[in-house]
């Protein structure tokens, strides 16, 4: 399993009012672990008021920039992004897992391809990494970026993109679509929808010669673009997505502490929620939560029944259970109340568990 490593913040600067670009240097000789592929992301962890939060942010640096850099946009109510934007400073140490993700296609220096990238807001970060790396490593390839933002002042990396356009004259084409700011060309105002894409494909983008498309943005935008691309003949294998839901929760709540202790009797009153429905039943304390749910005709998820695969994960909302084996959940998940239901036996006289959380 992936481990966390220390990274030192060597630079941090704002790219727009509420987004920072953080440059990181792996500490303790773990540099090789962070040899990323363009378009990958890092997962960070940090404790907020005694509780661990994990957040993933895409790498925005290109392979040939020689640095490791992520962009972090502040999200309303987001503990990690607010902290990164307001308190993080040069010299601080962050903890992250090695780069992950498959938002890229293999590069070939002899290829002459046409790539199309769509980015919405902070969705630019992985796309920027991809376009920089592609333009530098495939000298005959071209890249068209369609970049959607609310207005001019919310465009992350605006100047850097202008510089890249000059550096790769004729090979990088950028179309800014702004939701609220009017532009000379009316087509470039509004949202990037399926219809808008179809119009772009008429005169502005030679969709018939696109080899691969990358999309990173909010859900409705991804759906619209993907539909337009498919309607214009791209196959699923040619379309690469990266979705970081706008809904990474700000903070996970701890499970409620049960007031009631165990009586020592062998029976437990269990309430199990699955697919929005809750069933209550009595179960012996020497039966696992999973087996009890299955015996009560619930279609609870499981695979290995050996505490290895984590398919049967559920959350304990009330009461206490004991896991006899756990080879899959990490400490921070257990602290939040997650258990492997195939390995979990009730300790208290009532337990409330939920497979939907």
């Amino acid at each position: 399993m992936a481990r966390f490593h220390d990274l030192e913040v060597t630079d941090i600067h704002k790219t727009i009012r509420d987004a920072v670009v953080v440059t990181l240097k792996p500490a303790n000789g773990s540099a090789s672990e962070f040899d990323f592929t363009q378009g990958q992301y890092l997962t960070f962890r940090r404790e907020f008021e005694g509780e661990e939060l994990r957040r993933s942010y895409s790498i925005c640096a290109g392979k040939d920039d020689g640095i490791l850099q992520v962009g972090i946009k502040r999200v309303d109510g987001g503990a990690f992004s607010t902290w990164a934007n307001e308190e993080l400073k040069i010299g601080d140490t962050l903890q992250a897992m090695p780069p992950m993700g498959g938002f890229f296609t293999p590069l070939d220096p002899s290829a002459a391809k046409h790539y199309l990238g769509f980015a919405g807001g902070s969705g630019i970060t992985p796309v920027l990494s991809i376009l920089k790396t592609t333009l530098s490593r495939e000298p005959r390839s071209q890249f068209t970026l369609v970049y959607a933002n609310k207005g001019v002042n919310t465009i992350m990396f605006r100047e850097e993109l202008e510089d890249l356009k000059n550096l790769y004259m004729g090979r990088l084409n950028i179309i800014h679509i702004l939701e609220t700011d009017a532009q000379e060309i009316e087509l470039f105002t509004g949202l990037v929808t399926q219809e808008k894409c179809a119009q772009l494909f008429e005169h502005w983008i030679d969709i018939a010669h696109v080899d691969a498309a990358f999309i990173c943005g909010p859900e409705p935008m991804m759906l619209g673009i993907a539909a337009a691309l498919r309607a214009h003949g791209l196959s699923d294998a040619q379309i690469k997505f990266e979705l970081f839901a706008s809904a990474q929760p700000g903070r996970a709540r701890r499970k409620a502490v049960s007031a009631e202790a165990a009586t020592g009797a062998n029976q437990t009153r269990a309430a199990v929620t699955l697919d929005g429905a809750t069933q209550s039943f009595d179960m012996p304390k020497d039966l696992s939560i999973l087996d009890a749910a299955l015996q009560n005709s619930m279609d609870a998820p499981y695979a290995c029944k050996a505490g290895v695969c984590s398919t049967c994960r559920c959350k304990v909302l009330e009461g206490e259970v004991e896991m006899v084996a756990n080879h899959a959940l990490e400490d921070y998940e257990v602290e939040k109340g997650y258990v492997l239901s195939c390995q979990a036996y009730p300790l208290t006289d009532t337990v409330v568990v939920d497979y939907d959380q």
Binding site: K150, P218, E219, M222, L223, A303, S310
Partner: protein, 252 residues
């Protein structure tokens, strides 16, 4: 920009998820089940086939069988690595179960799984000799190809990509099985092949499952399923039937 779409409605509209970070819990569970079923079936299939390698009548056949064992294990590894990104302990997983274990040839378990792994029921039956192995592989690889066509479009992009890589490999296994079967017919083994076909046909057919329509609908809403069980079984029956026809064998 409208950012108020839930993951559930995004998936129902055909959206794609790309990493474990924002996968909803129930989706995670169904995805893990799907992956475990594939991994366990490939590992059990490879383990069962490994014993057959030495029974191949010639060196070419033994190479084909060894290649199938290698590649099915490799395919299991591809998907197991994705399970690992969700927290599964991949090292332990690969060894937590004796994948060579089989039931009696005459056991009747329908589509049910054994207690401790998720392999498709058909992989619980023992293979008896080379001819039997060739026929089992011929019928089952066709079934795998039909299922992979559906799985290659599922909404978890890393897994869809893995299945798109795996599909042509499994197709090739089917071709090897057909080559082997043609040769066996030439060697006068048609009767033995027919007997094996009669044995494996209903067992492979059962591997498509009888899942309820609500369940299929729930999976469909999550983008984890497109085609229903019955529809896939019908497609397999047609395709596998054609294969038997081409060998001059009867459809059981």
């Amino acid at each position: 920009m409208a950012e108020d779409m839930t993951i559930e409605s995004y998936l129902a509209a055909g959206g794609v998820l790309t990493n474990p970070v924002n996968v909803p819990p129930r989706y995670r569970a169904e995805l893990m089940k799907l992956m475990a079923t594939f991994v366990d079936s490939e590992l059990a299939g490879a383990a069962g086939f490994a014993d057959i390698i030495n029974q191949g009548p010639g060196i070419k056949e033994r190479i084909a069988a060894a290649k199938i064992v290698l590649e099915k294990t490799d395919n299991a590894d591809r998907v197991l690595r994705i399970m690992g990104e969700f927290g599964a302990n991949t090292q332990r997983y690969a060894n937590h179960h004796p994948w060579t274990a089989r039931l009696d040839r005459s056991a009747d378990i329908g589509a049910s799984r054994s207690e401790h792994d998720m392999r498709l029921a058909v992989f619980n039956y023992p293979i008896e000799g080379w001819v039997d192995a060739v026929m089992m592989n011929l019928l089952m690889s066709r079934a795998v190809i039909v299922q992979l066509a559906d799985f290659s479009m599922i909404s978890y992009q890393p897994l869809a990509e893995a299945f798109r890589t795996i599909a042509p490999i499994e197709t090739r296994h089917g071709e090897l099985a057909l080559e082997g079967a043609v040769k066996l017919v030439e060697l006068g083994q048609a009767d033995a092949l027919q007997a094996s076909a009669n044995y494996w046909w209903p067992r492979v057919a059962a591997s498509f499952g009888t899942g309820s329509t609500e369940r299929t609908e729930a999976l469909r809403a999550m983008g984890l399923r497109r085609t229903g069980n019955a529809e896939m079984r019908t497609r397999w029956e047609a395709e596998a039937g054609n294969l038997l026809d081409s060998l001059g064998l009867k459809r059981p």
